[in-house]
Symmetry: C2
Subunit: 240 residues, 2 copies
DNA sequence: GGCTAAGCTATTGTTGAACAATCCCACAAG
DNA sequence: CTTGTGGGATTGTTCAACAATAGCTTAGCC
C-alpha cells in the first residue's frame, strides 16, 4: 500500500495545493445552477431557439425538477440576458434585434481594446493562449469542422480580453459571448460566419507578437465592424 | 369633455409613442425583484454589513415573504456579486479584499476610458449630465452633505460611461458601482473618501469641454489611482 | 489536558400541493 | 367590427414537509 504520509505537514510536492485547485471543479453547486447551465447550453446550440416559451410545467417535468427550483434557474438566465421574463406570461428565449448586436459589438470593442492595450505592457508570455486559439481554429478549418472553428474564434477573443488580467472583464466577456450566440443562430451557416475571420485573427496575433499594438488594434477594429455588419444584415434578411 | 379621437389612427402628435415609452415605468416587477432591490439598498447603506449571514427564516419573516421567493431574490444578488452563496451554509454579504478593489478599478479604467474616448466624437450636448453631476457635488459639499457628495460622484462617473451610448456598458457600470459600495463601507468617513475628488471631477469636465480628451484621460487616471489606493490602504488598516 | 468520535440541532436544499391573480382565447352581443 | 364575458391554462406566491448538511455539544479515550 501507499506510504504513511501526514497530509497536514508541509511537503515538497504540493499535493494539497493541487487538490485545492480542483475544489471548485467539484461543483458543489445545487440543482438550480446546474439547471441553468443545461438551459444555457441548449439555448446556445439552438435547441431552444429565440422566442421559445419556457413553460415551467413542461420544463420541470422534462428535467425532473420542481417549479421553484426552475424559477431560481430562470433568475440566473434573466441576469445573463439569455432569457426575458414577462410578468404573468412566463420566460422566453431572448430574440436579439440589430440594435442589440450593435451594442454587443460596441462592448466588444471596449473590452477587447482594453486587452489589446494591456498586451503592450504585458510580456510575450501571455500570448500563448492567443497562438493556441488561432492554431486550433486553422486546424479545425482544415478538417472542415466549422462549429469548432466558431468556438476557437470565441476562445481567441476571450483570450484577447484575458490579456488585461481582470477576472471581472473576463466574466463580462464570457457572458457577452453567450448572449452573442443568440445572434449567431440567425446566420445560415457557421462557415460563412467564421471562415472569413481566421486570417484576421492570425494577423492580430502576428502583429501583437511583433509589438505592433496599433496595427493589431486596426485589424481588430475591422474584424468587429465586418462581423457586426454581417450578422446585422443576416438578421434583417431573416426578419423580413 | 375631450374631443373624439381615434387613437388607432395615425396622428400628427405621437401620443401612443410617448405612452409606449412609459411602458417599463409601470414596474410590473414581482415580489422577488422588489425584495432584491430592498436588500441591495440595505447592503449599500451598511445596514447589512459585509460578512452578515442572510438567514432565510429571519429575513423571510422580517420581509413577510416565503423562503422560496427569498431564494429567488438571492440569485439576483449573487449574480450582482453583492452576496456569496456557500452551499448548505447560506448566503453572506460579500466582503471585498484589496484584490477585488484593484480589479474593480481596473474595470473602471476600461469603462470610463471608453466613455472618455467616445466624448471626443460625440457632440457637446452629452456633457450636460457631467456638468450637472459636478455642480451637484459641489453644492452638496458647500452644504456639508457628504453622503450626497458621494452619490454625486458616482453619478458623475456613471455619466462618463454613458458618453459611450451603450446600454450594456451603462448596466455594467451600475452593477460595478453597487459592488464598489461594499468597499466604501470600510472607509471611516464619506468626507475623506469623496472630498479630494471634487476638484478632479471638475477638472475632467472642464478639459472635456475644451476638447482636451488626453488631458481629461490623464486626470481620470490619477483619480482612479488615488481612489483605489486610498480604499485599499483603509481596508488593510481595517483588516489588521 | 487535549484529541477524536458520536449525536443533536438548526439551517439549507428541494419537492409537492395549494390558491389567488393574471393572461389568452373563444364566443356572444351590441 | 368592436366590446364584454366566460373558461381554461399558466404564472406568482405561499406553506408544509422531508432529506442532507454544517456546526456545536458532549462523551470517551489516550
Amino acid at each position: 500500500m501507499g506510504q504513511d504520509v501526514d497530509l497536514a505537514r508541509p511537503s515538497a510536492d504540493d499535493t494539497l495545493g493541487r487538490l485545492a485547485a480542483d475544489r471548485d471543479l467539484l461543483g458543489r453547486s445545487g440543482t438550480a445552477q446546474r439547471v441553468a447551465e443545461v438551459l444555457r447550453d441548449r439555448i446556445a446550440e439552438g435547441a431552444l431557439p429565440p422566442g421559445t416559451r419556457l413553460s415551467e410545467q413542461a420544463l420541470g417535468a422534462a428535467l425532473g425538477v420542481s417549479r421553484n427550483t426552475l424559477r431560481e434557474a430562470f433568475r440566473t438566465l434573466v441576469d445573463g440576458r439569455l432569457v426575458v421574463h414577462e410578468m404573468n406570461r412566463g420566460v422566453f428565449v431572448r430574440t436579439l434585434d440589430p440594435d442589440d448586436v450593435n451594442d454587443i459589438y460596441a462592448v466588444r470593442r471596449a473590452l477587447e481594446g482594453t486587452g489589446l492595450r494591456a498586451a503592450a505592457t504585458a510580456g510575450p508570455v501571455h500570448l500563448a493562449a492567443l497562438h493556441a486559439a488561432v492554431a486550433g481554429g486553422e486546424a479545425a478549418a482544415d478538417a472542415g469542422d466549422w462549429p469548432e472553428v466558431g468556438t476557437a474564434d470565441l476562445r481567441f477573443h476571450r483570450a484577447l480580453v484575458a490579456l488585461a488580467g481582470s477576472p471581472r472583464l473576463d466574466e463580462y466577456m464570457t457572458r457577452l459571448l453567450a448572449e452573442l450566440r443568440l445572434a449567431f443562430l440567425a446566420m445560415p451557416s457557421a462557415r460563412a460566419l467564421h471562415e472569413p475571420f481566421l486570417r484576421l485573427n492570425r494577423r492580430i496575433v502576428d502583429l501583437l507578437g511583433a509589438g505592433d499594438t496599433a496595427g493589431a488594434a486596426a485589424v481588430l477594429e475591422r474584424y468587429l465592424d465586418d462581423a457586426c455588419e454581417m450578422i446585422c444584415t443576416a438578421m434583417r434578411m431573416d426578419g423580413a
